[in-house]
Symmetry: C2
Subunit: 254 residues, 2 copies
Amino acid sequence: MEGQAYIDPNETRKRVEVCFSPYLFPLYKEEFEIIVVIDVLRATSAICAAFHYGVKEIIPVSTVEEAQEYQRRGFLVGAERGGQIVDGFNFGNSPYAYMVPEVKDQTVVLTTTNGTKAINLAKECGQVVIGALSNLEVLQNWLAKQDKNILCLCSGWQNKFNLEDTICAGAICDHLLGTGKFHSVEDASIAAKYLFLSAKDNILGYLKASSHRRRLKNLNLNIDIKYCLNPNQAPVIPILQGDKLVAIEADVLI
Amino acid sequence: MEGQAYIDPNETRKRVEVCFSPYLFPLYKEEFEIIVVIDVLRATSAICAAFHYGVKEIIPVSTVEEAQEYQRRGFLVGAERGGQIVDGFNFGNSPYAYMVPEVKDQTVVLTTTNGTKAINLAKECGQVVIGALSNLEVLQNWLAKQDKNILCLCSGWQNKFNLEDTICAGAICDHLLGTGKFHSVEDASIAAKYLFLSAKDNILGYLKASSHRRRLKNLNLNIDIKYCLNPNQAPVIPILQGDKLVAIEADVLI
């Protein structure tokens, strides 16, 4: 595809776009004020679940070593690599691990294969907000009220495109474009929206063809998958303040 | 998305996958024996048109400087940047420029914004074949007979995803998967196939929403776009031999 970017000089709407993986993020990072980090299976779904069940704050760290250091200092720490709990830690990436009384009002430290890396990549470039299917509607409504350029950053899989994050990003685009206050100029955003529209009536069925199923089905994660793909189970908006994720106060969400 | 790649030890079928842009190619290049380079608007469509109208061979070069050097030596040279013919050259990227008697039996040198760069990137890693909607059916049939792992490399736009190359790649995946002799393990390939299936009954209409239209409509390229998006206008298979593209002999295509 050739040609210059076509920028309409009369365009006043804000942009909403989709970046398919952290690997592509260098092509986008200068242009956006809000970055929605999405890792549906399972990091951002687990983060939303944790806040919905009353966790006070979450510190996302990129490496297991950082997580171990926090653990030595007495923090509750979750650590996941390759779909499993890292040896020596109490939690992994399962949303259900955070639906327990022990996390209520606590600070939790979390490191995951893709999701927390994407958060730490994005935070240099804009306001990080956590997106998942589990907080979709409340997030869409909040984003629609922000007069900001928005990038949905899919965590992907091993730096490549994945379907479930893209469908979540497409749902956000579809909603924001529908308000009339946003526009998209890139084909990735249009494709994400098309894929969401094809999937929306049966997300679980749609993704049965996808590679996540082959990867996770032998990890006995079917219960987690069903939770993560079921929209609006955790109506919270985790947002990064400094190095900590906190939930936006409920009265702001109305 | 977490988890390890799930490789079925009993899998004997070859793989067909899609890489959305040259920027992502480092994540793929070790694994494939045939690389189908796709730049529907307009480089690979123009290359197919040229062979269909009798050009003998095409030398793809990455830079305008290389193209100028060939021009000094008396070659016919096409050079396109940003959708337009580079000053001082006779041809650009329009398929119609190559449907003329002057190119018959000639060697043509070509440099384009994305397409020829993708060719030169891919040639280090596998057998390069040229793909476009204009040679779709003949290419699908030929690929189905190769017992090789196949990567469709979309040229994209400024290293990002574009819809028209992805739909072409999705058409190739859909056909090869349908033969039962190939499988895909990556979500990018599944998404490309889904997008093709949504688009196939009206590719021109489907792409009206896409960014290519905004970019090219003010370059008066509507005639070219219609040609490039109309399948099977140029039933040839250009293939790289050394540094030159040549057409596979017609009797091999039957």
